[in-house]
């Protein structure tokens, strides 16, 4: 049992409640296909996009969306981000241009690793043919901020633009950072999310060497048979806007980003801190930031990696942070359907969470069958479940934890039965 640390003072540091932040567009490329709608529909139906132990975006063909030159000048992780961003901008009604002062619109895209495919390719060329054969595009392809820069360039966003690097929490940190930029008044809108394309032999072998990935090649979070995560690739991008700015242009938000918190274990390079102290604190602070209590949480989108350690410690953290509510709240993991998208995971999962709330469902933890006696939450086995929504408005949290001890939690809200779902 985890002892519950005292709650931090409410996020009244903002003084009056901070500027509200809404989500007006979302886009995703995942192993379930191209499109945020495809992701939520197929996951809700209990489908899984993992094949041969990897979550590849097989249906993604960059030149279907990008010119040959754009595609050549972008590593796969940047290509994925550009396509997800295009979808998000179109959904927000931005396809004819940015509806705000472009100097006040940012681009913040996270990644765990960056352009590792380009790095290994250029290193191969260097070893085989020498220094002079290395491409002048090497650096702009491999740099971890490439996706943020490319999205800003393509959409003409001239506010703050940078990458965020925090392993498997990068997508959530990016969105949280973007939220803070809007709340602080630094930006009126931010295009934000995460992207990853690290299904390269070196990365696959390195994750396997540390015993993090599944030997069976099956992602089954919270199941007694879980034996590690399954690597996936993809991108998720959201358009966040200040609620006042969105209302002014008559935009119909998909949902609201209510709260965010980030903490650090300061404990171990890869293992979660055993008491869950800082993961619990991240969940609590995110709820406080959102101005909601555990009883308001209708759904938990877990980090749920399918590793023995994460799923056990995350279960304990949810129980400690949500108290009595933990026994009743449905908890499921998007990674059961697409694998672990590393630096894209938090963003794709935030999009999946919003989609779930808008449909008024908790999608299932696909493949969950055998209960681990230590893990006693409701992991939504079998099929999607309807959520109770008294007034139609539903609140959820989405957890992300990264190697390095990074914890980031987002709190989202949406109205179920919203048009377009």
């Amino acid at each position: 049992m985890i002892s519950a640390p005292a709650a931090q003072p409410a996020a009244a540091a903002h003084g009056e409640r901070a500027r509200s932040v809404v989500v007006t567009g979302a886009g995703a490329v995942t192993p379930l296909g191209v499109g945020a709608g495809t992701l939520i529909s197929r996951w809700a139906a209990g489908e899984c996009g993992i094949e041969d132990g990897l979550g590849r975006c097989d249906e993604f063909e960059p030149t279907d969306f990008l010119s040959r030159k754009e595609a050549r000048r972008a590593d796969r992780f940047t290509q994925l981000a550009l396509v997800a961003a295009d979808e998000a901008l179109a959904a927000a009604g931005w396809d004819d241009g940015v509806p705000h002062d472009p100097e006040r619109v940012g681009s913040v895209i996270g990644t765990g690793i960056g352009g590792i495919g380009s790095l290994t390719e250029q290193e191969g060329i260097r070893r085989e043919r020498g220094a002079k054969a290395v491409s002048p595009l090497g650096v702009p392809l491999l740099m971890g901020n490439a996706a943020a820069g490319a999205v800003a360039m393509r959409a003409g966003l001239r506010g703050p633009s940078f990458g965020v690097i925090s392993a498997c929490a990068a997508g959530a940190h990016s969105i949280g950072q973007a939220m803070r930029m809007i709340q602080s008044g630094e930006a009126d809108a931010v295009v934000t999310g995460g992207s990853e394309a690290a299904l390269e032999p070196i990365a696959i072998d390195a994750f396997a060497a540390m015993g993090a990935t599944s030997e069976t090649g099956i992602s089954r979070p919270f199941d007694a048979r879980r034996d590690g995560f399954v690597m996936g690739e993809g991108a998720g991008v959201l358009v966040l806007e200040a609620a006042d700015a969105a209302a002014e242009r008559g935009a119909e938000p998909l949902g609201e980003l209510l709260g965010y918190a980030a903490t650090s274990d300061a404990y171990h390079l890869t293992a979660p801190e055993p008491s869950g102290r800082d993961a619990i604190r991240a969940i609590r602070l995110a709820l406080e930031d959102a101005g909601v209590g555990p009883e308001d949480v209708a759904y938990v989108n877990a980090h749920g990696t399918s590793t023995p350690l994460n799923d056990a410690s995350e279960t304990e953290a949810i129980k400690a942070a949500l108290g009595e509510r933990a026994a009743d709240v449905p908890v499921s993991s998007t990674k059961s359907a697409i694998g672990h998208l590393l630096g894209a995971a938090g963003a794709v999962e935030a999009i999946a969470t919003l989609g779930a709330l808008r449909r008024g469902i908790a999608p299932p933890t696909v493949g969950w069958e055998v209960r681990d006696p230590e893990l006693d939450l409701d992991y939504v086995p079998g099929e999607a479940r309807e959520l109770d929504a008294d007034d139609g408005r539903l609140v959820a949290i989405s957890n992300s934890f990264g190697f390095g001890g990074h914890n980031a939690v987002l709190c989202l809200a949406a109205t179920s039965g919203a048009p377009g779902e």
């Binding site: 010119s67 040959r68 030159k69 754009e70 595609a71 050549r72 000048r73 002079k132 054969a133 491409s135 002048p136 595009l137 702009p140």
Partner: protein
């Protein structure tokens, strides 16, 4: 063994190289790099293609004044 440098051979390799790099628009001798949406990074790539094929080195100084595809072809032929 590098390919022998003739104006025809150089034109063929450069036209193909420029297309591979992702030039936008019709590739002719008179086409300007700027109009084909090609920049300094593309020119470095083109120089690498030329060196691989013909063994002719085009350093930064040599290509800084080129404007058109024809300029590069002439430069390679002159330097062979």
């Amino acid at each position: 063994m590098p390919t022998a440098v003739t104006p025809e051979a150089v034109e063929k390799v450069i036209f193909a190289g420029v297309e591979e790099i992702g030039a936008e628009g019709e590739i002719t001798r008179d086409a300007a790099f700027e109009d084909l949406d090609l920049d300094s990074l593309d020119l470095v790539e083109l120089a690498q293609i030329v060196e691989d094929e013909f063994g002719v080195e085009l350093d930064g100084d040599a290509v800084k004044d080129v404007k058109t595809i024809g300029d590069v072809i002439d430069l390679v032929v002159a330097r062979a």
